[in-house]
């Protein structure tokens, strides 16, 4: 499989005497949906910033789409990478939803007709077509993030980084973005998604989970394997998905269940 991201022996710190990463190594492959989890201060968001070159690494190497991330390549690489940030209010530029989605295209000098077409297409995709002439400020959090996603998708990225992009949304907003992510993946099998998240139910849908703790990769596997490490995750103050917790509590009460998923538990309990 084609490697999209390769982080090797990366060292980074915001200040001279305190390192966030000492020797970070990880890989992400084409078409993968990878969730990065870790408690506050573990280095997750720092990693997102390093991947788009907002901060410079001290040593080691980051390779994206087979190009080393450096001053010469950075603008080239960013053409293929989209990022959605945490706070929906901090990423609006346009006066209307339409202008906002078009912003990146304008910068790339896309002809006006073509731009109209792309904007409408992606607004429809994120289910915001009827809001095209509305002011972004008056939208709900979930709607704002969907607009931000449309603006990013309009640039046709091959790698989409979501940096806690649902953490300020209400549960409905979270679900909307989760569903949208799933749809995007179905439609475009080549799209690679790296999602930094606290939403443990989202993590269950990922192809792979990378648990970061104190700047190091602690666990790196499929969700069902990672969540078997209940004690490890608790020790680093991470949440466990509902069905895993219920399984644990039921077994501790002497009700023997094997399943770690919702439907499986229903089935077992109703036998």
């Amino acid at each position: 499989m084609e490697k999209v991201v390769e982080v090797s022996h990366v060292q980074f710190g915001y200040t001279k005497d305190k390192l966030v990463f000492n020797d970070l190594n990880l890989e992400v492959y084409a078409g993968e949906y990878v969730c990065l989890i870790g408690h506050n201060g573990s280095g997750k968001s720092t990693l997102a910033k390093l991947l788009i070159g907002l901060n410079e690494i001290k040593s080691g190497k980051i390779t994206i789409f087979n190009k080393e991330l450096n001053e010469q390549n950075i603008y080239d690489i960013r053409k293929d990478v989209g990022i959605i940030f945490q706070n929906p209010d901090n990423q609006f530029i346009g006066a209307t939803v339409r202008d906002d989605i078009a912003f990146g295209l304008e910068n790339n000098c896309v002809p006006h007709d073509k731009m109209e077409e792309i904007v409408t297409y992606f607004a429809r995709k994120v289910n915001m077509e009827e809001f095209l002439d509305k002011e972004p400020g008056n939208l709900s959090g979930g709607q704002k993030q969907r607009v931000a996603i449309a603006g990013t998708l309009a640039m046709n990225p091959k790698l989409l980084i979501m940096d806690e992009s649902t953490s300020m949304l209400d549960p409905k907003g979270k679900r909307e973005i989760r569903e949208l992510t799933n749809e995007l993946r179905k439609e475009n099998k080549d799209l690679t998604i790296i999602s930094i998240t606290h939403d443990i139910e989202e993590v269950l849908q990922a192809d792979r989970v990378i648990v970061i703790n104190q700047g190091e990769v602690l666990l790196n596997d499929k969700p069902e394997v990672v969540f078997k490490n209940v004690e490890t995750l608790r020790n680093i103050k991470l949440d466990i998905p509902f069905s895993y917790k219920l399984n644990e509590v039921l077994n501790s009460l002497g009700i023997k269940v094997e399943s770690n998923d919702f439907e499986g538990l229903v089935k077992e309990l109703c036998q």
Binding site: G141, P171, K172, F242, L250, G254
Partner: protein, 286 residues
Amino acid sequence: MPITFSHLNYVYSPKTPLEYGALKDINLEIKDNSFTMLVGHTGSGKSTLAQQINALLTPTSGEVNVNGIIVDKNVKKLKNIKELRKGVGLVFQFPEYQLFEETVLKDVSFGPKNFGVSNEEAITLAKEALNLVGISEDLFEKSPFELSGGQKRRVAIAGIITLKPKVLILDEPTAGLDPQGSREMMKLFSKIHESGTTIIMITHDMDNVIRYASDVVVLSKGEVIKTCKPYELFLDENVFSKLSIEEPLVITMAKRLNQNGYHIALEEVRDIDSLAFQIQKEKKHE
């Protein structure tokens, strides 16, 4: 004494093109010592309603009666508005943005000093409040801006509870916190509630609603459309899906099991432990 709203209307920017009726004919009683949660869409009027209680916003018509103090459109003339605000603490969303003092202790003691408490006593009250919210003494002399996000929020909340308000209003107090931070914050409010404070909380988190709320008020488009016990929110699918409320997974699980022959009382299901306990009870009956 309970908080009673009667025929309360609130209009933003009246007599301008931006005129907007945010609250319409609100009649509501919030029980003394309750843990009442306000739920509803963004823009449904939750925050506007909460701000009437300490007269930050005052009714366009109608009134709210708080501990015998009546807030209506003439409230500006009211002398005991200070008395009202002493009794009703309001914590805004992202309260950590409001920290401003040089040290944690100074920030927290600012409130009581403002209400005329002596410096010495204000510091004693501040220390008590910081102790309650779990901020350790070695942080007292630090700048509040050096603290972590969760700590900052605790300090901001301490600033409000120094005056030991009888009613504490919290506007989405767990928004933006990680799951661990959010759980700890809820435990703190539960502790404050148990010490005899009425808590009114605005939230989108239904897990917290069924776990902690004694009563729920549902707002939609500026109107109170339902007041009920937490589990009652999820009895009628039409109601909660229309309100874009997410059903907690413990309730979904209990319902699924009930469809398959279980008899779990939904009001007993407040978290995973109580759900598991109910399942165990059913299993014993078999």
